[in-house]
Symmetry: C2
Subunit: 331 residues, 2 copies
Amino acid sequence: MPEIRYNVITREWVVIATERAKRPDQFKRKEAKKPLPAHNPQCPFCPGNEAMTPPATFAIPDHANWNVRVTPNKFSALASEGERIRTVKGIRRTVTGVGIHEVIVETRAHNLTTALLNDHDVELVVETYLDRFKSASSDPRVEQVTIFKNHGDAAGTSLEHPHSQLIATPIITSQLRERLSNAQAHYDEFAECIFCRVLQLELEDGARVFLETEHFVALVSYAAYTPFSFMILPRRHMPTITEMTDAEAADLARVLRRALAKLYHGLGDPDFNYVVRTAPLEYYGVKYYHWYVSVIPRLTKMAGFELGSGMFINVALPEENAAFLRGVKVD
Amino acid sequence: MPEIRYNVITREWVVIATERAKRPDQFKRKEAKKPLPAHNPQCPFCPGNEAMTPPATFAIPDHANWNVRVTPNKFSALASEGERIRTVKGIRRTVTGVGIHEVIVETRAHNLTTALLNDHDVELVVETYLDRFKSASSDPRVEQVTIFKNHGDAAGTSLEHPHSQLIATPIITSQLRERLSNAQAHYDEFAECIFCRVLQLELEDGARVFLETEHFVALVSYAAYTPFSFMILPRRHMPTITEMTDAEAADLARVLRRALAKLYHGLGDPDFNYVVRTAPLEYYGVKYYHWYVSVIPRLTKMAGFELGSGMFINVALPEENAAFLRGVKVD
């Protein structure tokens, strides 16, 4: 019989459709993606084409010889200049669309992806996330900073060159507000961080954990919404990413690369999104929230039921997905 | 400058990305879909193939000569038999996956779609929705009934034959619970149904209304999440679809067909979902909720920012989309 599980972090029910569930290898890509060149003369993110983007706001090690390069998004969703003005007319509320929208070019190589980089390369990306998060958070118009990656067509990107994005908005989204307030309510009731508790239970149980490093744990949620989606949680309680030590940041690079390599090799380079679910900087040190990375392979499509009810039907078993990923050997 | 608008019904902010916005005709399908046969011998929903599905639970006018036919979904997400059992183990909560999952075959013709049916055909579909909603609601295990349609690949269906679905779940989804409770809070504060208020404001303004019938109004939301998504609202206050008069039900068929015909002819048969957002039957008559139909053309993909923040970036202007649809002539 199918099982409906409650996701204690999002407070949403998910149908685990046992009868319709597919085996892990049924999610493997059928035809290999076409190979990419290491350099593409038309790509705005390839070395030598820096003039095709707005001037860089950050680069490692430096602007002339970058390995990671950050620029304002040429097709920004938000205006970088201008005042944040809130207008309220009865039930109509608007805010001027000001904020920050940056592109983080992760490597010089057009044809790589996180799974194929080395740990040091990914460390530079994590270092960049931390710098840009702090920089965006220091803008007084900004309430929330979202760092995310779209990999592949199904994940909503047409640009192949490995890149992430940062969007800093002048409002707190209702999704984040709800998660903060749910976590706070749990803390008030039980005097514990709900994320720390989930992590402890998952480590005790073991069935959904597929990768552990010194400072991080990668696991498929008990009530995962979609096949092979997983979380990477820091072992130590921290609400914001800025609280990581240098050792933790280096270890995040390692766990992120290895977890994505398991996806890459296990499922044949699936399209995916990831997002860093950090609290805003002003929540530094709070006892009830705990940042993590969500990785969402785009193996299925949202249909009318998901859109219309907000409830997902997961056609894979979290325990089977975790066992499969555990079995994929990566260095 | 982009504008961030607040959706008062969902309480979510949406970026209306004015600078990146596409013109309405840029959303038109580039290549026509391949024409379908009027009858497909392999299709489980075509007349003559009734044995390929479980036995029908409902048919109009009758099982032998049906125009609309309802069967349990052969690949049901939920088990039709079995008890609803709630288990609570600390923070782990599960419910047995029992409920109802039906397929509503809308017509005998394999190659039609709502836009190409006549009003009488669609009236039969609406009549079926009402019957199946009442039938599912009478099951004591059921808390919520979602009626929806997936049209086309991008909307999550591979079955071409025109059909809708009904899923009745043994829990209330958090999305519906939040909307009910937001609407209730608005009622308590302002002594008005927020949907009635939105409808009144939209009719006064006019810029986002694109179709009016005697009993219904079709409009693009002020803070629409995605290009060309729209609502069909009954003019009269009613929380559940069962409260419609016969005249209203016939008019719903008419407004639904005409609104979808505007999409079909204006944008070249785009893939879409629609969902009937009714309150559960036990909310019959409440003053604060108001049912409606959401139509969501699948013209863009959700990417990492939407998944990671819950906030949408709409690359179309609601007012332009409404003006475009207003201009598409349909009978």
